[in-house]
């Protein structure tokens, strides 16, 4: 361990913190940003200290408006988040940010390059930006992203913004953990047919035409508005509260470079929050978020169980057989289920029996 104070005499020169052994969570709640950073690390790592901290912090959360920012790689999400931070700071609001970039499936490493675009907020303790790697999790966010958001919420940041991994038509998990989802699209990536496709566009509460200073931005804006007019006024997928008007999805052209549209976007986010409260849709969203969170935890448990089976000889043999095409993937699955059942997953035994029955008939 490096003693960074080595050049300036003994460590005792540094004034000790007021209560050195004070609990990390207490310090976090008292506004200690270093303690917050430490707690985020433990939560991200999923260790016992982190789990205990999350549990204590949960009661302090629920105040922040949580905004998701998603869109394709390089669309300008981080730069836009930086511009929004500026808008919120002008209004005197604090801002927490969790920015996710992808982990390498090969090395497990990551380059976290979102922060560099968000501007320089050092010296302003009302802005807290935390980068995290996806660590193999799909859906555009990391497994612990929602817990980090909750911790920033508990620390008093409002709003909290989540930037996803560069995402496209499939990775829409962020919508389940935020109140307002911004979908950033940029000119030059397709035509009106793209705007008809399922995925990201469906979850955006506000469709942002990013890099609005570039040629083609006006065309994209028109395409997106056109797409919205094709929809029924209240399509079932928008999950409005019965008897209440659905949120009219907005299209806003923004340039983080010229700042054009940034203030309008910040206002639209507030308007969406007001709509959620007024219409009662916030209740539906919070339930959906809770459900998504619980299911994600269940999935994580199951995935950990499943991952553990690959060490078993029988599973390795099944893998080899599938690779050699002497067994089909469905047939090989039976071996995995058997191993899972032995490792204490009773449902796997039942599933294995069903499967072997149906394969017997082939």
């Amino acid at each position: 361990m490096t003693d960074v104070s080595a050049g300036d005499g003994p460590v005792t020169d540094v004034p000790p913190p007021a209560t050195p052994r004070q609990d990390l969570v207490d310090r976090l709640l008292a506004g200690d940003r270093r303690a917050l950073a430490r707690v985020l690390t433990r939560i991200e790592n999923g260790d016992r200290v982190g789990a205990a901290a999350s549990a204590r912090l949960y009661a302090h959360g629920g105040r922040a408006h949580v905004v998701g920012v998603t869109g394709p790689p390089g669309a300008g999400k981080s730069t836009l988040v930086g511009a929004l931070i500026g808008a919120y700071r002008e209004q005197g609001r604090s801002v927490g940010v969790v920015a996710v970039d992808p982990s390498s499936p090969m090395s497990g490493g990551a380059t976290l390059g979102d922060r560099i675009r968000m501007g320089a907020w050092h010296g302003d303790d009302q802005v807290f930006v935390r980068s995290m790697a996806s660590r193999g999790h799909g859906g555009g966010v990391a497994r612990a992203t929602t817990d980090l958001v909750d911790a920033l919420d508990a620390a008093g940041f409002n709003p909290v913004i989540v930037e996803t991994v560069g995402a496209g038509q499939g990775e829409i998990d962020v919508a389940a953990l935020t109140h307002t989802t911004l979908l950033v699209q940029v000119p030059g990536t397709g035509d009106a047919v793209q705007t008809l496709k399922a995925g990201g566009l469906e979850v955006g509460d506000i469709l942002v035409v990013g890099k609005g200073d570039l040629p083609g931005a006006a065309g994209l804006e028109a395409d997106l508005r056109g797409m919205l007019t094709l929809a029924e006024p209240d399509p079932p997928s928008r999950r409005a509260v019965p008897g209440q008007d659905a949120w009219p999805v907005r299209v806003i052209r923004v340039s983080a470079q010229t700042q054009e549209g940034v203030a309008e976007l910040a206002d639209a986010i507030d308007a969406h929050r007001a709509h959620l409260a007024r219409s009662g849709e916030i209740v539906t969203r919070l339930r959906a978020r809770a459900e998504a969170t619980l299911l994600a935890r269940l999935r994580a448990l199951l995935e950990a169980q499943v991952a553990g089976t690959t060490a078993d000889r029988r599973v390795a043999d099944a893998v080899a057989a599938v690779a050699a095409r002497t067994r089909t993937p469905d047939e090989a699955l039976a071996s995995v289920l058997t191993v899972l059942a032995e490792r204490g997953a009773p449902w796997a035994g039942a599933a294995a029996n069903n499967r072997s029955a149906s394969f017997g008939r082939r």
């Binding site: 960074v4 090969m106 090395s107 497990g108 490493g109 976290l112």
Partner: protein, 158 residues
């Protein structure tokens, strides 16, 4: 120093980088920053890439970082390692300011390493400031990676 040093295809394969350190609860998290008015970012990028391929999580903050920016990023990101890349010759001025800024933010348990053009006669002074090691031009990247793996403090205490 050419990019071929980064290793085959960024696979982070064990023959190049050594086995992955599975004993750690998480990947080593490193801040790579270029302090001051110094536009030479090739070395920092090459190192950031090599560290990614070695399985580290690298927060890349890029050019023109002030000591306060570096310390603030290190504190919020809670990195294990701060990597400074400097080819401007201003290390004797900037490094003490950076070390002070880190201390002020309570970042007192990170490994600080540096790279770039730091002349041999300055090494003792730089190390006395608390920089654990300096990796100059031509250092094989695995040397720096190995050093970081071995010397990064473990912080698993409650």
């Amino acid at each position: 120093m050419e990019a071929s040093d980064v290793g085959p295809g960024g696979a982070g394969s064990s023959d190049v980088w050594g086995a992955r350190d599975d004993a750690r609860a998480r990947p080593i998290k490193v801040l790579v920053a270029k302090p001051g008015l110094d536009g030479h970012d090739r070395g920092a990028k090459v190192m950031a890439r090599a560290m990614r391929d070695a399985g580290f999580e690298v927060v890349y903050t890029g050019l023109f970082q002030t000591p306060e920016m570096i310390a603030s990023a290190a504190a919020q990101e809670d990195v294990d390692v701060v990597g400074l890349s400097i080819l401007s010759g201003a290390h004797l001025t900037l490094f003490p300011l950076i070390m002070d800024a880190l201390r002020e933010r309570g970042v007192d348990d990170v490994l600080v390493v540096a790279g770039g053009t730091i002349p041999a006669e300055d090494l003792a002074e730089v190390e006395a400031m608390g920089v654990a090691a300096v990796f100059g031009p031509g250092t094989p990247m695995r040397t720096a990676i190995q050093f970081i793996r071995e010397r990064t403090p473990r912080r698993d205490e409650p």
